[in-house]
């Protein structure tokens, strides 16, 4: 079997709205597939179909070679799901949540307790194990949620925007957990709105928009298309924006853009360009309040792939 999970031409409609317009997703065993897209692109719908929660209107999906509709019960033995919102029971304690899942997975109560304690320790929740989940912080809930999806040691794990709304330190915790899952041999489908997250974790990335895959490849190949890194400059004196743009153009050889007022950005190929930009800004006496080297945002990825901004960005701009 070549793929741990595979979706071919998935279609899902809600009334007149088409959530998925024939989407293909697949990952080889032991790899991470990043599904990158804005809100409403169809990420969650695709995950719900692969997790047997929704029936597709067209196309097919398999997990471990088994059809998710015809063999739903057997597929459910192989998967773990972590939803966009933490799907734990707020009234139950951390331990009770995990023991319940263990019992539902046919562990004996004693085994379920051992497994719960193991996972709570692994996710640094031992101290909070006896408290109701509603007293947990956002990061703790996400960790408990992730732990809950791992009780049955699934082969395939779906993580639907697992770090949305988390601060960077907590996000790193989740990232490390994902890496260790993959090291143990699991296959992961990770949806995200951040190229940075997909870049950090995924072996391959599918970019989706309006229910279609608009680009697919390794992080490196995707970055080659959308521009690897971007330098952003915000001059202290807005009048010198044109001068700063001139510096960026000269160093990168590309035409800089001004995504928002008082800021210019340009894609660059390597870190060396950054040092050069700093030198030239200094030489020309252009003071800056912001200067950064970063991966393109989702909006910039979309702009370079489709020539259009994401709808959300348009709404913000409007």
């Amino acid at each position: 079997m070549e793929h741990a999970f595979e979706a071919e031409g998935l279609v899902k409609r809600y009334g007149k709205t088409t959530a998925l317009a024939g989407i293909d997703l697949a990952a080889r065993p032991g790899t991470v597939l990043g599904v990158l897209g804005p809100n409403g692109a169809g990420k969650t719908t695709a995950v719900r179909i692969l997790a047997t929660l929704l029936r597709p209107d067209g196309g097919r999906a398999t997990v471990g070679g088994l059809d998710v509709v015809r063999h739903a019960a057997r597929v459910r033995r192989m998967i773990g799901l972590t939803g966009q919102y933490a799907s734990v029971d707020e009234d139950l304690t951390g331990t009770q949540n995990l023991v319940l899942i263990g019992q539902l997975l046919n562990l004996r109560t004693a085994e379920a307790k051992v497994r719960a304690a193991e996972l709570l320790a692994e996710f640094d929740l031992t101290e909070a194990a006896g408290r109701p989940a509603k007293t947990y912080s956002g990061g703790m809930r996400r960790r408990l949620d992730l732990a809950a999806s791992l009780v049955g040691r699934p082969d395939v794990i779906y993580l639907d925007e697992p770090t949305t709304g988390l601060d960077p330190a907590k996000r790193d915790d989740i990232w490390n957990q994902v890496r260790s899952l993959v090291a143990d041999g699991a296959t992961v489908l990770l949806t995200t709105q951040y190229l940075e997250e997909a870049d950090a974790l995924a072996d391959e990335i599918s970019v989706i928009d309006h229910g279609r895959v608009i680009a697919h490849g390794t992080p490196a190949s995707l970055k080659a298309v959308v521009g690897g890194q971007t330098i952003l400059v915000r001059p202290a004196d807005p009048a010198r924006l044109a001068d700063a743009a001139g510096v960026l153009a000269a160093v990168s050889g590309h035409q800089p853009e001004s995504p928002s007022r008082g800021v210019v950005t340009v894609p660059v190929d390597g870190d060396a360009a950054f040092t050069e930009v700093v030198k030239r800004l200094d030489l020309l006496g252009i003071g800056v309040t912001e200067l950064s080297l970063r991966l393109p945002s989702l909006d910039e990825v979309f702009f370079s792939l489709t020539g259009q901004h994401t709808e959300r960005a348009e709404e913000v701009a409007a």
């Binding site: 929660l53 033995r77 966009q84 734990v88 009770q96 539902l104 041999g185």
Partner: protein, 268 residues
């Protein structure tokens, strides 16, 4: 299965028998924990019936039975039925609330029977009926209610009332699966519960009612349960009312149970 071959699987999921029963019981325990953690959810089966008893006994007792004590004897076995039947509404409302949260997505993604989460909730909520019956008896005894038969008959009355409420609660589960929001569940349930519980001889003898209402009282399943409860607690004929109660209980489970599970499957 090449994926699992390299992984260390400590034989976690060996098939064990009676899966549906075990899963339902585990989920029932979850409902129980949730109820006990927020006891204010039990107000409808503790404080509310006490208020009803006080209002009816002191407002109507003299007029209907000539004395508040005689009226209390007549009312309490019937109020017990009304309270437990109303108590089942919460199962539908809670399930409707629950199902919109992520935790039900998790249950659906697990290899368990589709009916297990519903059976679990209905079983867990049995605690509500037990609490209702106990608090009514305690309060009734303080006011002077006395069982006129024996302990065994009284226990049988309690069990019958609880069984009936449990069976009827499947109808509320069905409403909970079909309605869009918890408020709607409550609205629909109330509409059905008023004729069912007040269209009886609970607060006044049926003989005083107009013909059309008396015909309804005669066929109303809740009337039979109230008659059975009175018979078992106060004496008098019980065989007919008890059999009718058991018959209706079976009908409700067999009709509304499968319909509720089907509605749950279809809901996304």
């Amino acid at each position: 299965m090449t994926i699992t071959a390299e992984r260390v699987l400590p034989a976690p999921v060996a098939p064990r028998p009676f899966g549906l029963v075990r899963h339902s019981l585990a989920l029932a325990r979850r409902s129980l924990i949730k109820t006990l953690r927020s006891p204010e959810q039990l107000l409808d089966v503790t404080l509310q019936p006490v208020v009803f008893v006080v209002v009816f006994v002191y407002l109507l007792g003299g007029a209907v039975s000539g004395s508040t004590h005689d009226y209390l004897q007549l009312l309490l076995p019937a109020i017990m039925v009304q309270t437990t039947v109303f108590g089942g509404m919460a199962t539908g409302v809670n399930l409707n609330t629950d199902i919109r949260k992520g935790v039900f997505d998790r249950f659906r993604s697990l290899p368990i029977g589709r009916s297990a989460p519903l059976i679990g909730s209905v079983l867990g909520d049995l605690i509500r009926y037990v609490v209702a019956v106990v608090s009514l008896f305690a309060f009734g005894y303080v006011l002077g209610f006395r069982v006129e038969t024996d302990l065994l008959s009284a226990l049988a009355a309690c069990l019958l009332v609880i069984l009936f409420a449990f069976s009827l609660s499947w109808a509320f589960v069905l409403v909970g699966m079909l309605a869009r929001e918890p408020g709607a569940v409550q609205g629909i349930a109330f509409l059905a519960l008023f004729p069912l519980t007040f269209g009886t001889s609970m607060i006044a003898p049926a003989a005083t009612m107009p013909d059309w209402l008396r015909s309804w009282v005669a066929v109303n399943p809740v009337s039979h349960v109230m008659d059975a409860s009175r018979g078992l607690l106060l004496g008098g004929p019980v065989a007919g009312p008890v059999l009718w109660s058991l018959f209706w209980s079976a009908v409700f489970v067999l009709v509304f149970g499968p319909l509720a599970v089907r509605a749950y499957r279809r809901r996304t």
